[in-house]
């Protein structure tokens, strides 16, 4: 099929199905993935190079936009103080569950590590509506969840970058190789920090004076691509570089003019990101899910219970009571965008196969459908039992 027609169909279906799903009260990415599944069942070949490239741009701009628009370094410092222990427990427990589950099913060491990493991040976007409806967003446990969500995405991205670097060796690296991996990561970070701190702010004072059209937007776009490329030069993955590039621009006023932010958001969420999610849908092997019955079920149970137990233990250590700890654990169960980027990259690099990929996609879908309902139940349970602490 003509590639232009493929793009048109993907974007059209992704937007229409996302709208229907959003109006039904679920996250739009389910609709975007459903568009891919639907088109895959009909006629589009998911191995199309151009679609795969657009999908990579989607993953890059999903993480770049997260760093560029959503990260506030001052707020991050405050989050670390509030939510460090609950976040660490909420990462370590699901990571262990993912790793052990992989071991139990005799997957290779790298696949087990990857499952652990893919179980670790959180996407509490779907929990927010429930927290608002039940007036829990402004309570202490609600703000701890918000702080923790951003922290554990960052920890997840760090773990993912280490894993990707290790995967390039195709075996468990020696201590020397691990030092090389760490060294490359540190050098990349130092370069990006210098660029973001000293070079980019000066660069933009010249860019805004350029006569050519859309100079600031073009350079913000270029910095996304540049940081993605530079990460690859240092054996990291492009999406990690894009995220760090976004963070580097997040404090530069001229790069964050409202108009420019809207254009970056438009090209990301309007075009590239829906194609990325639809491509995930296209890549799902439905027969692999059917064949992986028990494994897929255990992936769902272990990933969700890992977050629940880790979050519960962490908030208990931090001094919360049982009911609030339970609310925190359930609120941290949903997974979405970042996890999908991880598994998409993992599959692309050949670290995981169709069985793990499809099972984790299924887990993500179940998590965003089930978590808000469970969260509502536990909050109502707490209110009924008359606890007054918040």
């Amino acid at each position: 099929m003509n590639i232009l027609l493929q793009l048109l169909l993907i974007l059209f279906l992704a937007k229409i199905l996302a709208e229907i799903i959003e109006r039904a009260g679920f996250p739009g990415i389910l609709g975007e993935m459903a568009a891919g599944i639907f088109l895959g069942m009909l006629w589009i070949n998911p191995d199309e190079d151009i679609l795969s490239f657009f999908s990579l741009l989607g993953a890059i701009f999903l993480l770049f936009t997260a760093g560029y628009k959503e990260i506030n370094l001052q707020e991050l410092k405050a989050s670390t103080k509030i939510a460090l222990i609950p976040t660490l427990c909420g990462v370590i427990v699901p990571f262990s569950f993912g790793f052990l589950l992989g071991k139990a099913f005799n997957f290779e060491f790298m696949e087990c590590l990857f499952m652990g990493v893919a179980f670790s991040p959180t996407s509490i976007g779907v929990s927010v509506r429930t927290l608002i409806d039940l007036d829990y967003l402004s309570k202490k446990i609600g703000s701890t969840m918000l702080s923790s969500a951003i922290l554990d995405d960052i920890i997840g991205i760090f773990m993912f970058s280490v894993l990707i670097s290790i995967a390039t060796y195709h075996h468990i690296p020696t201590s020397m190789q691990l030092m090389v991996i760490g060294g490359k990561f540190v050098i990349f970070l130092i370069i990006m920090i210098i660029l973001g701190w000293k070079i980019f702010p000066v660069l933009f004072t010249y860019i805004h004076k350029m006569h050519v059209k859309e100079s600031i937007f073009a350079f913000v776009f270029m910095i996304a691509i540049f940081s993605a490329y530079l990460a690859e030069v240092f054996s990291l993955h492009a999406v990690i570089g894009a995220f760090i590039g976004g963070v580097c621009l997040s404090g530069i006023p001229l790069a964050k003019i409202e108009d420019v932010q809207n254009k970056v958001s438009g090209i990301s969420y309007g075009i590239f990101v829906p194609i990325f999610f639809a491509y995930i849908g296209l890549s799902i092997d439905l027969s692999a899910i059917q064949g992986a019955g028990l494994f897929a079920l255990l992936v769902i149970v272990m990933a969700l219970s890992g977050k629940l137990i880790g979050g519960f233990i962490g908030t208990k250590i931090a001094g919360c009571d049982n009911k609030n700890s339970l609310i925190f654990g359930v609120g941290m169960m949903p997974r979405a965008g970042v996890e999908l980027v991880f598994i998409s990259v993992g599959r692309g690099l050949g670290i995981i196969g169709d069985e793990i990929f499809s099972a984790i996609v299924l887990m993500i879908v179940v998590s965003v459908i089930v978590s808000p309902a469970l969260l509502k139940l536990v909050i109502e349970y707490k209110e009924r039992s008359g606890s007054t602490s918040n």
């Binding site: 739009g28 707020e75 509506r129 402004s138 951003i150 004076k209 006023p253 420019v260």
Partner: protein, 145 residues
């Protein structure tokens, strides 16, 4: 007579008497300010007297309408803002600033090209004025008369 705007500097036409708010100004007080005056945004000044952010009508509207917004509008940052009750927690922390001696035509070009409605004039981090598109238009009209 043709006026050469390239020789004008921002300090000549900026509004010097600026109404600002502190980081601890409550949202209730901010709403009162927006109701009482016609300004579209207020600069936020730290205790050290430095410009640290701005509160625009867009932010206030976002907070007021937060509960009614579709779920896809709940970004991490907007959720954090909705939980705060003081200016420091909801402000935009990256206002576009220029110095007093910035060239007016270059500043106007920036505002036109990138749809920036007003820029904040600072000297060593301290706010000394605001320049809006309206200020520039008024000045040009005045000089044409």
């Amino acid at each position: 007579m043709t006026i050469d705007y390239s020789k004008l500097i921002v300090a000549e036409i900026m509004t010097k008497d600026v109404m600002s708010v502190g980081e601890n100004t409550t949202i209730v007080d901010l709403l009162e300010l927006f109701g009482k005056y016609h300004y579209h945004s207020y600069p936020v000044i730290s205790q050290a007297g430095e410009l640290v952010g701005i509160i625009s009508e867009d932010i206030v509207l976002e907070i007021l309408m937060f509960n009614q917004m579709p779920a896809c509008g709940h970004t991490h940052l907007s959720v954090i803002r909705s939980c705060s009750d003081v200016a420091g927690g909801i402000m935009t922390t990256h206002p576009v600033t220029v110095s007093q001696d910035a060239n007016l035509s270059e500043t106007a070009d920036l505002m036109l090209k990138h749809h920036v409605h007003r820029v904040y004039v600072v000297e060593q981090g301290k706010l000394v004025g605001i320049l809006s598109k309206r200020d520039i238009v008024n000045e040009i009209c005045k000089r044409r008369e």
